[in-house]
Structures are given as C-alpha cells and as structure tokens.
C-alpha cells in the first residue's frame, strides 16, 4: 500500500487539540502584519495567500479525489476574469451612481470568482468525469490548452495578450477597507484564506468528502455500495473548480490585472507542484507547499538565475525520495512523537538531513558554475557569499566533492536508519 496520495483521516471527536491548529493559525494571521512590516513582505504574503487557496483547491481533486488534472488554472483564470469584469462593472455603476453593481463591494469578488469557477466546472465537467487516472489527466491537459488558446481570441472578454485590468478601490467599502495600502489588502486576503481553508477542510468531513476519498481508493466498489463513481467525481470537480475560482477572485483584487497566461499549462503545473511538494495525502500539505514554493519563487531569484530550475529539482527530489511530501514528513515526525519513538528515529533522520544538505550544496554549486560558464557576465559564480570561478577546475572539484560526501553519508547512515525505523 504505497499510494502517495492518501493518509487515513482521524476520527471526528471534538477536542481542544483538534481546534488548536485553527486558533494558532488565526493568531498567526492576526499578529503577522505587526511583525513583518515591509512592503515586500506584504506583497509576498498576499501572493502566498492566493497560492494557498489555489493549491488546496487543486488537492480536492488530486489528493482527495484521486483525479490528476493539468487544467486547474482554467478555473482560477476564468474566476479571475469574472471578478475583474465585475470590478469594472462596479466601477462604472458607482460612477453612474446607480445599478445592481453599485451595491456590490469589491471584497466580495472571491465569491464572484467562486461562482464563475463552479459554473464552468458544472458546464464542462460531465464528459470528463467518466474516468480518472491518465485519461482524465490528458483530457484536462487538452482542455487547459484549448481555453488558453481561446484566451487569445476574444478581446472583449480576455483582453488579448495585454489582458484586462481593474481598480480595487471602487464601489462600497465594507469594514472601512479602502484596499489602497498593502495592509488593507492583507486583511482581505487573510479573511478569505482562513474562510476558504476552513470550508475546504469542513468539506473533507462531510459525506461527499468521504465519498471522494472512497472514489479515489476504489471506484469499482463504489458502484456496489450504491453510487456511480462518475457522479461523485463530477461533484468533486465542481467543488474543486469553485474554490479554484475563489482563488482567482482573490488574485483579481490583489494584482488588479489578469492575462490569458493565467489560464494555461504553467499555472496549472504550479498548482500541481505546490500540492505535491507539500504532500498530497495530508490536508495541510498544499498549504506548506504553497508557502515553500512561493517563497522559493520570489526569494531565490534575488540570488540566482536558475531559481525555476531549483524549484523543479526540489519537486523531482520529493517525488522520487519523499513521495509523501513535506506534509508527509511532518506527519511522520508527529506520529513518532506521539508513539514515543522520536528519540530512536531522530538521529537517523538528522543524519539523512545532513546528507541531503551536502548533496544539495554540491548540486547548487554545480548549477551555478554551469550557469556562469555559459552565460555569466560576472567573473564568478556566487555561492552563499563565496565566489567560485568556472574556469578553475578546483571549483568543479569542490562541487563534486560535496555531492560525493553527501552520497557517502547517505550510504553509511542508511543501515543505521533502517535499524532504528
């Protein structure tokens, strides 16, 4: 039973322990803006908020429903477009002083996105949900590409290559949120993120949420307990599309612009990346993944040109060596702590971590050298503050040494780890 997509849920008793993650998260959300006070920090947090909801909505399909999709950005993008058009409608209506849209606040745009995403899923989803697995993945790939291509074609809807932009400081302002400063936007983001995460978590506790796990584990058996797998899959598809659209609505308010690129394979792939890195089998996995990948994407580019490559390598490493993702790793530690075996297993894990660090350092240096050799305008590659020149053989030797050292440590401590597992 090596399925990477699932971990058994725990039972349903109410307890303070069960409530604590929510309380802690709420507290963190409340305190964060007072701790991190720079403009870049807020921008980053808003991006992370959108990605958290996006990645979680994706995992409703994959981790919980067993349906691998390469077209999830369609819901995100179309939800974002809907919200953008709505914002512009609000702008016009408030200017004119009358009309339906004059009463709708911009803070409700995520709901607009959610409805749009859900509608799209409802309309197109039925033929797709016949089967899961590779076929479903291919169908969603084709769908995503088709919508992305269509996005270049109808300028009044999609705005061509330049996209459509909007202004979030229009319409009635609820809770005194002008949405001008990054702090205002942060509260908007925090509210919707918390709400969306809670809603998606609550969904997993409902009968439909349980049945989605069942259709992932054994679609054949589902028929014999009275439910056609296709129906269940279709409903999950709609739910996932709705929350994807919700993330899109959040993005519309945050970025104030939406282009057809947001519909294509790249953002769809990003959702998959974040969910898988974080761990498909744990509910909070995609949250961790969204945070880590967003941080990597935004911060690494300050230090290296190859940031996207690093993200890809991390993803590959996780798929190959830690298929349960970061969340799965956290769960392992938690279970060990609960069972009392943590002390026994920690040394093994730590030595493994040391090996991983060494291997990573070697690889990073290798890649930086490679980059400097092929493209460098500078004289040297920057590596954690040290400078290495690609022309010198010694630099490459250092890289290989670190890599080899890491592999050696891994090998040597492998038996040690297995004995204590």
């Amino acid at each position: 039973m090596n399925d990477i997509t699932a971990v058994a849920p725990r039972q349903n008793r109410f307890s303070w322990r069960a409530l604590s993650p929510w309380l802690i998260s709420a507290a963190v959300l409340l305190i964060l803006p007072f701790v991190l006070d720079s403009g870049t920090a807020f921008t980053l947090m808003n991006v992370i908020a959108v990605n958290i909801v996006f990645a979680l909505s994706y995992n409703m399909l994959l981790g919980q429903g067993g349906m691998l999709s390469f077209g999830h950005a369609v819901f995100f993008g179309l939800g974002s477009y809907a919200a953008m058009h709505a914002m512009n409608a609000i702008d016009e209506a408030s200017y004119a002083g009358e009309g339906f849209w004059a009463h709708i606040p911009v803070v409700s745009m995520p709901l607009v996105g959610m409805i749009a995403g859900g509608l799209v899923a409802l309309v197109i989803g039925w033929p797709f949900c016949r089967r899961a697995g590779t076929a479903f993945a291919m169908i969603t790939l084709g769908l995503g590409e088709m919508v992305a291509a269509a996005g270049q074609m109808f300028p009044s809807v999609f705005g061509g290559e330049a996209g459509i932009y909007g202004n979030r400081m229009v319409g009635p302002q609820w809770f005194g949120l002008e949405l001008a400063q990054a702090t205002d936007v942060y509260w908007f983001m925090a509210f919707w993120t918390f709400l969306a995460v809670f809603a998606m978590w609550a969904f997993t506790r409902t009968p439909l949420g349980r049945m989605s796990n069942a259709v992932r584990d054994n679609p054949d058996r589902l028929q014999f307990i009275g439910y056609p797998p296709r129906n269940i899959r279709f409903m999950i598809f709609i739910a996932s599309g709705s929350f994807g659209g919700l993330a899109g609505g959040m993005a519309a308010v945050n970025y104030e612009i939406i282009t057809p690129e947001a519909l294509g394979l790249i953002p769809s792939g990003l959702a998959l990346l974040m969910a898988a890195v974080g761990g498909l089998g744990v509910f909070y996995g995609p949250i961790v993944g969204a945070i880590v990948v967003s941080l990597m994407n935004s911060m690494l580019s300050d230090y290296t040109e190859a940031s996207i490559l690093y993200v890809g390598l991390v993803f590959l490493a996780i798929v190959m060596f830690a298929p349960r993702g970061l969340g799965g790793g956290i769960e392992q530690v938690r279970v060990a702590a609960r069972e009392g075996t943590l002390g026994k297993r920690l040394p093994g894990w730590l030595t493994g971590a040391v090996a991983v660090v060494l291997i990573s350092l070697g690889l990073v240096l290798l890649i930086e050298l490679l980059f400097q050799w092929r493209h460098g305008d500078d004289e040297f590659a920057q590596f954690f503050g040290l400078n290495f020149v690609a022309a010198e053989v010694m630099s490459w030797v250092w890289a290989l040494l670190m890599f080899a050292a890491g592999v050696a440590v891994m090998r040597v401590t492998k038996k040690f780890r297995e004995d204590n597992a």
Partner: protein, 248 residues
Amino acid sequence: MSALSIKNLTKNFGLAEVICGVDLEVEKGEVHAVIGPNGAGKSTFFNLLSGAFPSSGGEIRLNGERIDGLTPEKIQQRGLSRSFQVSNVFVNLSVFENLRCACFKTAGSGYVFWRPASKIKAANERAEEVLEMIGLQALRDVPAGALPYASQRALEIGMTIACGAEVVILDEPTAGMSNTETAQAISLIRQVAQGRTLMIVEHDMGVVFELADRISVLVYGKIVATGTPEEIRNDPRVKEAYLGEEAA
C-alpha cells in the same frame, strides 16, 4: 415467490461460452451455496447477478422483478448486495469509515456536503451496529489496507450487509483463511444469514455443508444438480464431476 429467480442465463465472451443456460431458484430466507470445480464460471455468475457484467441472454429476477441489464447501483438499490473474493475495501479509510460509507446510500446522504458525516445519525448508528456484528470494534480506526487478512474479509462482509439488502451474495468469504479464522467466519455468516437470503460461492466443503440449506453445483457453466447437502453428497453425477472420494 423466490428471492432470486434465474432462468436460462447465458454469458459469452466473444466465442467463449462461459455461462451456458443456468436455471436456479433461491428461496427466500435460505442459505444457498454454489459449488463447482475451478473454472466452472462461479465468479462470472456472481458478476452477472450483481450487474458487473451484462448478460448475453436469459433473465434474472429479484423478488419477481427483472434486474438483468441494470447497473450495479440500481441492483444494490433494489436489495441485492455482494461481497468480493479479493477484498475490495477503501484501503486508506478507517474500518469505521468504510462501513459508514456503505451506509450512506440507505441514509440517502452520499452527496451531502453541508453537514459533517458524523452528524448523519442513520449512517453512523448503522455503521456502529455492523461494526459490533463483525467484531472489529478494537480496529475501528485502523486504515482498512493495514488490517490482517481475516479482519479484512470480515470488513468485506460488513460492507456488504451495511446497506440492509435482503439478498446477499458472498464470493468465497473464507478464501485463504486458517481453521480458527474459518470458524469465526462461519459464525459471522450464520448471524448475517438471519432474516436474509444468502447465496455463497465456496470451495471449503466444510463451510458449505455446515451452512447451506441447499446446494447447487455449477460445472462448465451449467447447473448439474441442486438439492439439500445430503442429496448432493450422494449424487453420483456430482461425485463424478467434483467431489471425488473425499466427501463420499
């Protein structure tokens, strides 16, 4: 009216005739065993009854109404439920969750997403009942895939009866079990049989002769004999085709 009435049932896979005209009547409330040599078509027969495969001819009536050609979900709704020879459970859900999922249909709440599953009283209570009946309370939160084999088989049976179907067909419920496990399974099946019509496919003759009210023998896709255990034990055709010296 018999619970299950099968007339001239046939099934072809291409040119291969696997089921060649089966006639069988299962009385209400009885335990009816189907035995036969390997390759006789027993699993195919069950798949036809439960709607997993469409038949090539003949009719199947459940309580007088035709069910051949219906989808498995519809057949389950009409009151026929089946278990599987290879445990077909939801491996990542806990034992309790497995049972509860099997109870959603009767409670009418499989599609509900606005209330927590724990609040669906009908499903939860029924799941607890079945959990007790199959004796797996201690393993309640264990993921089904991690269960020891005999417990998985018990869960399999539990999921089959959870929906409250009146007619239950069990596909080799004691396959692969040790003697003690088989004895436990027999007592569970006896419990299950109360108030229900049961049809089971079995290889273990001990189980068959202990539980069955009547036995049918399926050989090369046809029923060659039907009768009480005594009659079957003494039937020369059956002896020749199947039982050999051992049970004579």
